[in-house]
């Protein structure tokens, strides 16, 4: 029996590699529903969608997606996607990856993509840990938590990507959570209709690695803990965006701007140059 979203999957490649109870699947299915809604409303076609990812558990999504897709190298999905988008502006280019992929090794590219307001939808699946490589500290890991490279507890302060991107006047900055899948879908749907950079952080669980670090007995316990902390707000103020493990975590659409996107400004200035 086939599922209506199967057409967006390379079903011959299933089962996927994600661990039982991993949050990534929830993000991917919400993304597919958002894409499907646009396609069924005639905004763009199946062949107009391209997905690019780096390396990591979340980045593995491209292996299963039946779109033009690229699974490139760790941290470099954004520059690949920019090259693609500039040459073929018709494409809806989505970048998906983990917090390490997008905010650590790829952090500089994210920052400059935001500054330029490049027309991409960037989905950062934030599980606060390096999942694929076995549980090392991420730039998003909360302080004091045990990881395999901070066995004495994390002595760093985590990055707040929402705040960072808001300072760069990014056109769309939202935070969602796998505990609220309809909001992931709604934000990605919105992101796909926006000019310029649309960034969505999705809080996720890594029960296999991070769950063990945190002492959760199973995926459900971890999920329930996250659900207990997460609270959606309409247009929350940026000051509420810091994540403190154990406290309320605010999700919602933090920033909506209307700056000209990179593609339009590049083409406009090059056309003007050519006309003399």
């Amino acid at each position: 029996m086939s599922h209506p979203l199967d057409r967006y999957l390379r079903t011959d490649r299933l089962p996927h590699i994600w661990c039982p109870g991993c949050g990534i699947g929830i993000v991917v299915s919400a993304m597919l529903r958002a894409i499907d809604k646009h396609i069924s409303e005639g905004h763009f076609s199946h062949d107009d969608v391209a997905v690019v990812s780096g390396i990591g558990c979340a980045a593995r999504a491209t292996l299963y997606l039946n779109f033009d897709s690229a699974h490139v190298i760790h941290g470099r999905a954004i520059p690949f996607a920019i090259g693609l988008k500039l040459v073929k502006p018709r494409l809806k280019v989505i970048v998906i990856g983990g917090d390490g992929d997008i905010a650590a090794i790829g952090g500089n590219h994210l920052l400059h993509a935001a500054r330029r307001n490049v027309d991409l939808t960037v989905i950062m699946v934030n599980n606060m840990i390096y999942g694929m490589t076995g549980g090392q500290v991420a730039p998003t890991t909360p302080p004091t938590i045990y990881t395999t490279t901070t066995p004495y507890g994390n002595y760093e302060y985590p990055i707040n990507v929402i705040k960072l991107l808001s300072a760069l006047n990014t056109n769309y900055v939202a935070r969602a959570s796998i505990t609220h899948p309809h909001l992931i879908e709604r934000y990605i749907y919105k992101a796909l209709s926006i000019e310029g950079l649309a960034f969505i952080e999705v809080l996720s669980t890594c029960p296999e690695v991070f769950g063990r670090h945190l002492g959760f007995k199973n995926a459900v316990e971890f999920f329930n803990k996250l659900k207990e902390m997460v609270r959606p707000y309409e247009k929350p103020p940026i000051e509420r965006s810091d994540i403190v493990w154990g406290n309320e975590i605010v999700i919602g659409e933090y920033v909506i701007n209307n700056r000209e996107g990179f593609v339009r400004s590049v083409y406009k200035s090059l056309n003007k140059w050519c006309k003399g």
Binding site: S69, A70, L86, V87, N108, H109, H112, V266, C274
Partner: protein, 374 residues
């Protein structure tokens, strides 16, 4: 056809445009920046895009993305920037992406003397990236050849779906010389093969007989899968010896088996030569002057000049050196390419003549080092 006075950098930029360049991404670095600046002015006029990125890592990944969007793409850099590009170069090799890197050598290690010349990086170009692969790199000795070999770099990259490196140096790119530029139809321009099978039958890494797979790009309806992991013909990640062997050998063999379409060299006065000097790039200019001078004094000496450093035109090398008692390899570094020459001249007396010079080793300096063997 059009004749102009150009620098090496401008000739590389013009050659790229003749070859059909449509996307340039880069990060400024001496002595390559004029390629970027020239293209920033000129490329938009032929429908291309030029973007400065935040670093060389972004630049190479952006041109890989642009190439997968279906256009010819390039970047230019020098040692420090190329070091940053190596992971991307390995990716381009793995996912069979046509692109060109104009590498303008300066002194090293590290920041060295940014404005000054040398040939230190010929081995980095060959071996710098991780994994096993063949690399194609051309080393022009004149501004005209910079133009011509840039076109050839694009053609070979499209033909074999590989990254190709055009390796010049600080001296050449700042030299002004006369260049004959080709108009449309006056030079062969190669474009990547496109798939001929129905869309649902297409496999992105299924090669033709020449070992090169036809290339469907993004937005053409093929649902292509670009995969940096070890993959089968569909692009599906596989962890077996069989798939690893098949993939790596094909990536290597598509260059080796098509070597005749890639290699390039020139031989001068070698027919009766007792001594042959092997030299490449700008160093070969001084060597050529020296050879002519020694010839006028009756010395039976010749020059073999590889234009493709990687792979070397080994048949021509062996032929050029067939009568030689001694072979000298003159380089503007500590003597590194000499090892590649030795590989093909096992029974010859091959002598390394390294002459470090911030511009070009002069004929006198070269002769001074060589003299004891003549």
């Amino acid at each position: 056809m059009k004749v102009e006075y150009l620098t090496g950098n401008y000739a590389i930029a013009e050659g790229a445009m003749t070859a059909g360049l449509k996307f340039y991404a880069g990060y400024p670095i001496t002595p390559s920046s004029e390629i970027f600046e020239y293209l920033a002015k000129e490329l938009p006029k032929v429908g291309g895009i030029v973007v400065q990125f935040e670093d060389e890592i972004a630049s190479i990944n952006a041109i890989i993305g642009a190439s997968w969007a279906g256009v010819k793409a390039m970047t230019a850099t020098s040692g420090p920037g190329f070091s940053l590009m190596l992971e991307g170069l390995s990716l381009a090799i793995m996912i069979e992406t046509p692109l060109v890197i104009a590498y303008v050598m300066r002194t090293g290690p590290s920041t060295g003397i940014a404005t000054k010349s040398g040939q230190y990086d010929v081995m980095q170009v060959r071996w710098g990236a991780h994994g096993n692969y063949e690399i194609v790199a051309y080393a022009p000795w004149s501004v005209q050849e910079a133009y011509d070999l840039t076109i050839k770099s694009f053609n070979v990259s499209e033909l074999l779906r590989i990254p190709v490196i055009l390796l010049s140096d600080a001296t050449l790119v700042h030299l002004w010389e006369r260049v004959v530029m080709k108009g449309p139809g006056e030079v062969v321009i190669v474009d990547r093969k496109k798939p001929k099978v129905p869309k649902d039958m297409y496999k992105p890494y299924e090669p033709d007989e020449d070992l090169v797979p036809p290339m469907a790009c993004f937005g053409e309806g093929y649902r292509v899968l670009v995969e940096s992991l070890t993959h089968d013909e569909r692009g599906y990640y596989k962890t077996t010896n069989e798939v690893q062997r098949k993939l790596v050998w094909r990536l290597v063999n598509k260059v080796r088996k098509n070597k005749h379409l890639v290699v390039d060299s020139a031989s001068y006065f070698v027919d009766d030569a007792e001594y042959v000097i092997v030299a490449y790039g700008t160093t070969a200019r001084s060597v050529y002057a020296l050879v002519k001078e020694l010839r006028s004094k009756g010395v039976r000496i010749g020059l073999f000049r590889p234009k493709s450093l990687w792979p070397i035109d080994d048949d021509a090398l062996v032929k050029a050196c067939s009568k030689a008692k001694k072979v000298f390899v003159v380089e503007n570094n500590v003597g590194v390419y000499v090892n590649e020459v030795c590989r093909f001249l096992k029974n010859k007396d091959v002598i390394s003549i390294p002459v470090i010079d911030l511009d070009i080793p002069s004929p006198e300096d070269i002769l001074n080092v060589m003299r004891e063997w003549l």
